[in-house]
Structures are given as structure tokens and as C-alpha cells.
Amino acid sequence: MRRYVVVGNSAAGVSAIRSIRAYDGSGPITLVSEEPYPFYSRVLLTHYVAGRVPRERLFLVGEGFYRVHGVEVLLGVRVVGLDVYGRRLELSDGRVIPYDVLLVATGARPVLARPFSPAREGVMGLRFLGDAERLRRATAAGARVAVVGGGPAGIKLACALREAGGNPTLLVSSPHILSQVADDEAALLLESRLAAHGLRVRCGVEVREVAGGPHGVEGLVLSDGTCVACDLVVVCKGVEPRAELLAGKAEVRRGVVVDDRMRTSLPEVYAAGDVVECTDVAWGQGRVGAIWPHAVAQGKVAGANMAGVHLLFRGALARNSLDVFGLPFVSMGVTRVPPEPGWSSQVLRDGDAYLKLVFRGGRIVGAVLVGCAGLAGVIQAAIRRGDGAWQQRIAIAGIPAERAREVCQGGIPGAEGSGG
């Protein structure tokens, strides 16, 4: 009988538990998690901050889940040591637990680089439930919040704070928002939507210094010499894998390197979720694609293989979806055409609707959709499939300009509730 140990109680870990149990009904499973709660959705935290989702709905499983799946749950405990040869884990409370198969699903943490490091009062990331609760308390008390970072996470948070009645400032170092995942045209459309809803966005400014004392923040000094007064800074400049447990033992580049069965370079040690890096189908190279669907799919693959079932991960694809005050945005794969031969793009515009497909050597490798995201899944399938027939079908030939908006939107014309 195999003893399974899963470290991490979020999307990848829970998905792995489900998968292990689907194939192995009896092997004991131990789950170790730093946080004291059952599995909750980190992605919903911004919705919780916005007041759209009550706290109890963040939890995607109850305590019954662990009982039904026969999982021994160790919450509020950290893993402090890994003995690969003895197949043992050392926990922060002094316990040592043995394993036959181990899953490292320790996730990622927000990057807090200079001038936001070292950690100080009033500067935070938004990653854990505790962060969201702190943020809610602060905004309820009338704190002025600055959000740093113009990626999907920063925009989501700024929108959420605005929706909750606040007046946050979004600070972006690039000339436009979403510089990593979209192109300038799409960014402009979304920026005007943000502006229309009264959200202050300042692009092209770096934060030089955090002003204030040891007990709080008074403001931020920006690269253009101006200051933004604020009581709380939330840094949304991406996340970094929490790979300390495997550092120096397994192969770790930016994230833990895994194969398509989620095996690390160590025997009987698997990894899944935000902690790993694996080959991106659009970029053709290893990337840390810290997104929810990857974590769930990788957890499932890891769990199956841990239980001795051969299952392969279909490959990572960087992608994001976002609702910016009612204007949907989806991007996937490569979104900017590099100035090299063999690359091309096609663009279709109609008012607020914007669709761009990026091709390399006749193969579709990326897309940006604003206001017309209904076909995003078909495009993802085409990117993954990488053949010509599909590409031509969706390459706008199938979507005449006058119908693009309507078709892509996903709603049904004439039906109540559709459109927008």
C-alpha cells in the first residue's frame, strides 16, 4: 500500500487528492498545509474584496471532503525538511512523516522586490485569505490604496476596490496596462473602459520609494518626481514559485522542472501547480504559467501518476481572462508579433470589439480578444492543435466583420440578457 503525502491545499493539491482516490481507494493520504482553512479559491479573493462574494463562498470544499476522501489533514503546519533518501518530511511542529510518493504543490508567492522589500507595515501582496481580510478591513476603515502592477491581477484588484466604493490608484510601469499579456490596441480599449468608470490609472511610472515610517505608509514617490498619497500598497507584480523545499535537491530553474507526467528529477517526488515550470505550447519553451486551470489539470495528472496510472499533461498555454467593468478580455499565447520573418498577425476591429490572431510560420500561436471573447476556447483548441485547417476557419474568414461582434460575444442576438 502506497502512502501519499500532498504538500499544499489549493487547486493542484486538492485536484491531486481527487485523482489519487479515483485510482487508489485505500492508500493513506496525508495533506500538509500552512494555512488553517479548507481549500478555498485564491482567484475569488478579489471578488471577496469587491464584496461580490461572501467569505463562506470562497471555500470550494467543506471539511467533509477530506473525510470522504480519507485524507489525514495537517493544517497550520509547514514542511521544513525533505529527506529524499529516507523518504521523510520534517514538519514545523517537529513531527516527521514518511511517504512513498510525494506531491509538492506549494504554489507561489507575490514578488515583492525593491523598493517594496524588505517587508514593512502597509505594503502587501494579495495571495492568501489573510491578505484579503486585511485588505477588506483597511478599505472599510477608509484606507487609500495604491495598486502597483498593470497585469491581470492588478487590474482585477483595482476594479474590485473601485466596485467596493474605494478610489484606488493603479500604478503601471509600462507605457500601457497588460504589457505582458496583450498588445497596445487592446490595452487602450481597456484603459478607456477603466477611465470611464473613474479608475485612476497612471502608466509609465516606476515606484522609486515608499514614504512613511516603520508603522505605516504615507505615500509613494514615483519616477516622474510626483507622489501618490496612500495608506496601503498592494503589489501585484507577478508571483514566484515557492520551490524552497526542492531547491538544491531537484532540478529547479524559475520553477520546479517537471515532465509531462509531473515528475520532478527526484524519484517518487511530483510537483504541480504554480510551483512548476513546464513547456508552453505557444512559446515552445519552459515557462512558469501560474494559472488556475494549469494547477487543476497538473494536479490531476500528478495524482494519477502517483497512483500508478499513466496520464499525460496536455501542455501549458499562458492565458488569461478578465472582465473589466463589463468589457471581457481574453489573451493567450504570443500576443505581440516580434519583428522577425515568419511572424504575422490579423486584426479585426469593430467599435469596442477587437480580435487579433498571431501566426508563426502559418501556425496560430496567440490571440487577443476584447469585447468579443466568445470564441476564445475554439482559438485555444486551434493553438493547441497547431494545424492549418482550423486556423483558416477561425482566421476571420469564418467571422465576417459585421458579424464578428455578435458571434464572438457568445450571447444570442435578440434574446433577453444577451449583448452588451
Partner: protein, 158 residues
């Protein structure tokens, strides 16, 4: 077990399936129809294939979309949906639809398999066999589903 076989090559774009689904929606299932037939040249009928290991359910961050292994369907609870578009981004059949609510939020809607009827209405009113209900021959239907999915996006059902 849910077993709806979809064969686009038989579809003549009569759109009776859409009408049937719309009528059911108007009679209490709520909102908008969950099937859509685009014009000629479109390679797919936009209807949920109730995938095993459904990518929309894997991507759902709010627990709104879950597989129902007992019935072999994928169910969506609109009250849990936060309108993030993740399911739309995943579905290779473009069969997850978003509707705009009066308060300006998006909400997902998808085929629920007509649990209130013995045969899904789209299949019942399809005159060409593009949509076929084969409740008993589930092995065949599952094979058809899998082949089609494989054609669209490698590994969708894996």
C-alpha cells in the same frame, strides 16, 4: 447516462434545435438558449459535449461548474458564477455562453442536458440526425464524442 451524438456534417442549419432550446429556456429553465448553429462554413454546432474531465469545470474558479458523474453531464450553477470568462476561454466547442445581467455583470450559461425531459429537446427536434440521442448506446456516443474532441483540441478529454 447522457449520450448526445453530434454530427455537424448532417446539419442543414434549420436551427430548430435553437428554437426548441429557446422555448424551454422561456418556460422556466431561464435565460437564453444553450445551443447555437452558426451559418454555413462553420465547423461546429455550439453545444456542450458534456466532456469527461471537462476543461470548463477544471478552469472554473468559483465551483460553479462541476461534473456530475452519475448522470454523465457537466452542470453549471449560475448562482455561484462570478462571470470571469474562464469557461469560455477553455471550451473548444464554443459552447459556454455569457449573458449580460441587468446589473452589468456577466454570467455563464451552458447546456444542462435537459434533465427535465426524457430526450434533450434539441435532439428531439433535429430532423437530420445531426443531433442524436442515444441514451443506451453510450459506448458509441462516448467514442464519437472523443473522436470529435480529439479533432478539435488534442487531449481535451484526457
Amino acid at each position: 447516462m447522457f449520450a448526445l451524438a453530434v454530427d455537424e456534417s448532417r446539419c442543414n442549419r434549420c436551427r430548430r434545435c435553437e428554437v426548441a432550446c429557446q422555448l424551454r429556456a422561456e418556460r422556466g429553465a431561464g435565460g437564453v438558449p444553450r445551443i447555437r448553429v452558426e451559418e454555413d462554413g462553420w465547423p461546429i454546432i455550439r453545444i456542450c459535449r458534456q466532456c469527461e474531465g471537462a476543461p470548463c469545470a477544471e478552469a472554473c474558479v468559483s465551483g460553479a461548474i462541476r461534473s456530475d458523474p452519475g448522470r454523465g453531464t457537466v452542470q453549471l450553477d449560475p448562482s455561484l458564477c462570478v462571470g470571469c470568462w474562464a469557461c469560455v476561454m477553455e471550451c473548444p466547442f464554443a459552447a459556454a455562453f455569457m449573458t449580460l445581467l441587468p446589473d452589468g455583470r456577466w454570467q455563464a450559461v451552458k447546456c444542462d442536458g435537459c434533465s427535465d425531459f426524457p430526450v434533450p429537446l434539441c435532439a428531439r427536434f433535429c430532423p437530420t440526425g445531426a443531433l442524436r440521442w442515444s441514451g443506451r448506446a453510450e459506448g458509441v456516443a462516448a467514442g464519437v464524442r472523443r473522436r470529435r474532441a480529439a479533432r478539435l483540441g488534442r487531449g481535451v478529454l484526457r
